[in-house]
């Protein structure tokens, strides 16, 4: 049975193709249209999945949309009427859009699918899964567990913002949910908004900013904004938020409470901003830990599966793991709405069609390393690069790995484009920019000259799985870069008395470990473990780098500049390579050095993409 899952029309649209419960392919539309978090119907992503799997739309048994538009419309209308007459401006803008398009989403989807292939699909082949049902399915079915507790947390779907369930075999039994407007995701987004970051995409910046501050507003948040009970259930005080009635996330009461107006994008970050970030991060972690502890106690399960946008908070995830309420945790790598495409199709297959679930052999998960997007053959790469005017050398794998390792040792930034593109927000070694983590300047260089982004933003380490415990306070699989752990004590460099006096971003200049480029100011790192089974070529590169330097770690950041979607094709990679300060590009078996390129092909890349 072949099912196509679709997530679209809100943000981060995506498609996923599932055959008999196996994930064949998945892609986000933004990678093809080059519009960050593109929300339009994922026509190109669907076509890419179908081509990858060697089938057509006519072969698809069911198409499953990742949420229920009528229930969402019900929530929107009820919220407006509950708050009327406040919120009229927002109502005036939202309701016409719904009446024009979204209420008729079934027709819209059928029409759009008809444009992909003549005839499209029949109306009875189009199914709808609940938003949190999709998230829960995306968390449990691809996990390596026969049974597990499931926790999904995000901004909001239809009504649910936080939900718990128990998965066993092919069934998922819902337990509890917290409904809109009480939302941990929206609370976090409100702080991201107040700190001048974009809602739905800037939350990870807030998380990166938090270690520079002190959580001095945490008690105020607990007293005035969120009432968290012992079982982790919570309510938000709506007096400080605007998202139910207005066009912003926070209101004047919120500004008064913290004594600061909303920060404008690109405005200088002050210690107050950092303290606010540290405070909301601490409260979020407390709330999540209360939920997971209660979930472990009430279900008796030993395994936990996480999904939803809040599950991308890898700092909180690391704390959940170390807390020990659950023995094992697994986090869906595409935890945001894009992953809903996978979840919707899996929910329809296992729950709707009652099909049994087969656990992957070997004890791993079923996400195939999240390498689910399009790949390009070597001949295709050569043809595409030649057409762009690139000058390259085609070499065998051994030489390619040796050349790349040499470039990394020489402190060069390397664009690394290999095999199938990753699904989800993280580049995991197939569409990555790599660097030497031992260099104290690498973080600043990559942030300011390569990625054109804020200097405080941390980078993640990719490390050989067998060496992770030697370099980090972690001995657990983290293939999707979704767990944060401290750099191992023996690799840390403690600060002296003068360093301790530094404030905020000044701390960035003090090397914290022998791998400073991937060590955050609180000694933490967002770890990706790499195995030979999951990504053989990336594993070989790490092995080679270790053989030369004794260090089994590389800086791994997504292959893009600020606000640009991660590169998809060899042409995208070449364009980014020429536009940013990347010195070496490796695409498949082709090796490109910047100094050998025709610099007339370079474009002004820095201002091509708007601020996120």
């Amino acid at each position: 049975m072949l099912l196509l899952g679709i997530s679209a029309y809100y943000h981060d649209s995506a498609a996923a193709l599932i055959r008999d419960g196996e994930i064949l392919a998945a892609s986000q539309e933004e990678r093809f249209t080059r519009i960050k978090q593109d929300s339009t119907f994922p026509a190109q992503a669907i076509s890419s999945c179908l081509v990858d799997a060697g089938c057509s739309l006519a072969d698809v048994d069911y198409v499953v949309f990742y949420e229920k538009p009528f229930v969402k419309f019900e929530r929107i209308l009820e919220s407006y009427f509950a708050n009327a007459p406040r919120g009229f401006n927002s109502f005036r803008m939202a309701v016409p859009l719904w009446l024009k398009e979204k209420v008729f989403q079934k027709d819209l989807l059928l029409k759009a699918l008809g444009q992909i292939a003549p005839g499209g699909i029949r109306p009875d082949q189009l199914l709808f899964s609940g938003h949190h049902q999709s998230h829960a399915a995306s968390a449990f079915y691809p996990s390596p567990f026969e049974r597990a507790a499931i926790l999904t947390m995000d901004g909001v779907g239809e009504w649910a913002t936080t939900s718990t369930a128990v998965g066993a075999g092919h069934s998922v039994r819902p337990l509890n949910q917290i409904s809109f407007p009480h939302s941990l995701g929206l609370l976090y987004s409100a702080f991201a908004y107040h700190l001048g970051f974009k809602v739905n995409s800037g939350e990870y910046k807030l998380m990166g900013l938090a270690p520079y501050g002190k959580p001095r507003f945490a008690s105020l948040i607990r007293e005035q904004l969120i009432d968290i009970k012992e079982d982790g259930s919570f309510r938000l005080s709506q007096a400080h938020f605007d998202y139910t009635v207005g066009l912003t996330m926070t209101n004047a009461n919120f500004s008064r409470l913290f004594g600061m107006p909303p920060r404008q994008p690109e405005e200088l970050l002050t210690q107050d901003h950092m303290d606010l970030a540290a405070s909301i991060q601490q409260v979020t972690e407390e709330c999540i830990l209360k939920i997971t502890r209660h979930l472990a106690r009430s279900t008796g399960e030993r395994n936990l599966c996480l999904a939803g946008g809040v599950a991308l908070n890898c700092v909180a995830n690391g704390k959940v793991l170390r807390d020990g309420a659950f023995e094992n945790i697994w986090i869906q790598p595409a935890s945001g709405d894009a992953g809903g495409a996978i979840g919707a199709a899996l929910a329809a297959y296992h729950q709707g069609c009652g099909q049994p679930r087969r656990l992957p052999a070997g004890g791993g998960d079923a996400m195939k390393g999240a390498y689910l997007g399009p790949a390009f053959s070597d001949d295709e790469v050569c043809a595409r690069l030649s057409a762009t005017g690139a000058r390259f050398e085609r070499v065998d794998e051994e030489k390619l790995v040796a050349l790349t390792s040499e470039a990394l040792v020489a402190q060069k930034a390397v664009g690394w484009h290999q095999g199938k593109m990753e699904f989800g927000p993280r580049a995991l070694g197939n569409r990555s920019i790599l660097g030497d983590p031992r260099s104290p300047e690498m973080q600043r260089t990559l942030n300011l000259r390569v990625k054109y982004r804020e200097s405080f933003r941390p980078f993640a380490p990719a490390v050989l799985r067998e060496d992770v415990a030697d370099w980090f306070e972690l001995d657990y699989d983290s293939p999707y870069m979704l767990l944060v752990a401290d750099v191992a004590g023996k690799h840390q460099r403690r600060m002296n008395a003068a360093d301790e006096q530094l404030f905020g971003i000044e701390k960035l200049n003090v090397p914290r470990s022998t791998i400073p480029a991937v060590t955050h100011v609180d000694y933490s790192a967002r770890v990706q473990t790499v195995t030979a089974e999951c990504n053989p070529r990336f594993y070989k590169l790490l092995k080679q780098f270790k053989a030369t330097t004794g260090c089994p770690v590389l800086v791994n950041t997504s292959f893009n500049v600020r606000s640009e979607p991660i590169v998809c094709t060899p042409e995208d990679a070449f364009r980014c390579f020429m536009g940013a300060d990347i010195e070496v590009l490796v695409v498949g078996n082709c090796y490109l050095a910047k100094e050998k390129q025709d610099m007339k092909l370079a474009i002004d890349y820095k201002d091509t993409f708007e601020l996120d």
């Binding site: 009528f70 019900e74 209308l77 009446l99 024009k100 027709d107």
Partner: protein, 50 residues
């Protein structure tokens, strides 16, 4: 479109949200009217009325 409205009606009945039926009906009728007459000679009169 008619099928979608029919589905919406059954959805609201199934969810026992009877109070929403007239509201949704009014929104769709007048919303549709606004969209239909946008740019037409009728538009100024409708905007005056509502």
């Amino acid at each position: 479109m008619v099928a979608a409205l029919n589905e919406m009606f059954h959805f609201l009945v199934a969810r026992k949200k009877f109070w929403m039926i007239p509201i949704v009906f009014m929104l769709i009728v007048f919303g549709g009217l606004f969209l239909a007459v946008q740019g037409s000679v009728l538009a100024p009169f409708i905007y005056t009325l509502f």
